[in-house]
Symmetry: C2
Subunit: 197 residues, 2 copies
């Protein structure tokens, strides 16, 4: 069979992204949060994340001014909260209040964590790259806070209890959607010889 | 209830990452591929991705020299191939041959695509940041190629047919694993007012 490929152009399609809520303080110390559609892990040592944010977003100036942010991983039952957090703006809405979220001041960086999210990364801004409309911010993760009730004694933070979700980005079609994580396929670093098919 | 959070330190834990295979040509034009554990979408306009690669990896020099790479999204039934691609090195192994993958030369960038992966992004290197051991490479996506049989007439590229997977990174515990994508939770940009709970 010859596989036929279709060229779709230079678009954001066919891509999954973890759903992350980035939290900051604005210039009046009001906590704010944003659902970022382009983000991910960026480095192992030191642990770093990247979050890419449009310059018109209210959170953009907060990160530049405070040189800090937190990444807060919502559970999949918080998808409506996450979606709202990507639409409303901290300029005129108090998104923490609207969502019933509790801001907890980080001891390590100048940013609030979302108590209701099971995993929080406290990040110090260490670099950025301008990419047209967006700035890609690099945050060094100084600590990871995890709800005690989602930590398994043996496995550590347990994906089945944290229930993170992904955002399916398929701009130009109707498919943009949030998805839960499915079943485990296999363990990492187990296929040390070529797979037999 | 007061939520108790546990501080786990500056580690790569509690995080999901899309599984991407990055393909390059080496200095002898041999095609190579790598499973990158830190990567993701980085920008909307122009569409950009980031892939973060250790400087000791064979693919690192290939990206620097050719200023190009492709991102190839495997289906979840290719998790063993993806895992092997993160362990073996292109210095001494022909991973395309070992995995039965077909390299297809891109017309747009100086890198091969993996025919057997349902989605391919052709990327031109436009920037990088050094992050300790890793370099974070930014690639501008010049085109997205998608297998015709995973494109739904209405939805476009269909996540249920592409079946991308995620990597659950939980270093320091036993949990590191590949996971399929689960059910759809809801549509993006639908929660225009605060959710009622």
């Amino acid at each position: 069979m010859i596989k036929m490929k279709k060229a779709l152009g230079a678009k954001v399609v066919g891509n999954i992204c973890p759903v992350w809520l980035v939290a900051t303080y604005d210039k009046n110390d009001k906590p704010n949060l944003l659902n970022v559609g382009a983000c991910g892990w960026a480095n192992g040592k030191p642990p770093c994340v990247q979050v890419s944010i449009r310059d018109i977003r209210y959170s953009h100036s907060a990160i530049v001014e405070r040189k800090a942010f937190t990444v807060n991983i919502p559970s999949d039952d918080q998808w409506k909260e996450a979606d709202y957090a990507g639409i409303a703006s901290g300029r005129d809405a108090d998104k923490f209040k609207d969502l019933g979220f509790t801001p907890v001041k980080s001891d390590l960086v100048d940013a609030p964590m979302i108590l209701e999210c099971p995993v929080n990364f406290e990040c110090r801004l260490i670099g950025s790259i301008e990419l047209g409309y967006n700035t890609l911010f690099i945050g060094e993760v100084l600590d990871v806070k995890v709800d005690e009730h989602v930590i398994d004694e043996e496995l550590g933070p347990d994906i089945r209890l944290i229930k993170p979700m992904v955002y399916w980005a398929n701009w130009g079609w109707k498919g943009n959607s949030y998805h839960s994580i499915g079943s485990e396929l296999g363990k990492v670093y187990t296929q040390k010889t070529k797979p037999q098919r």
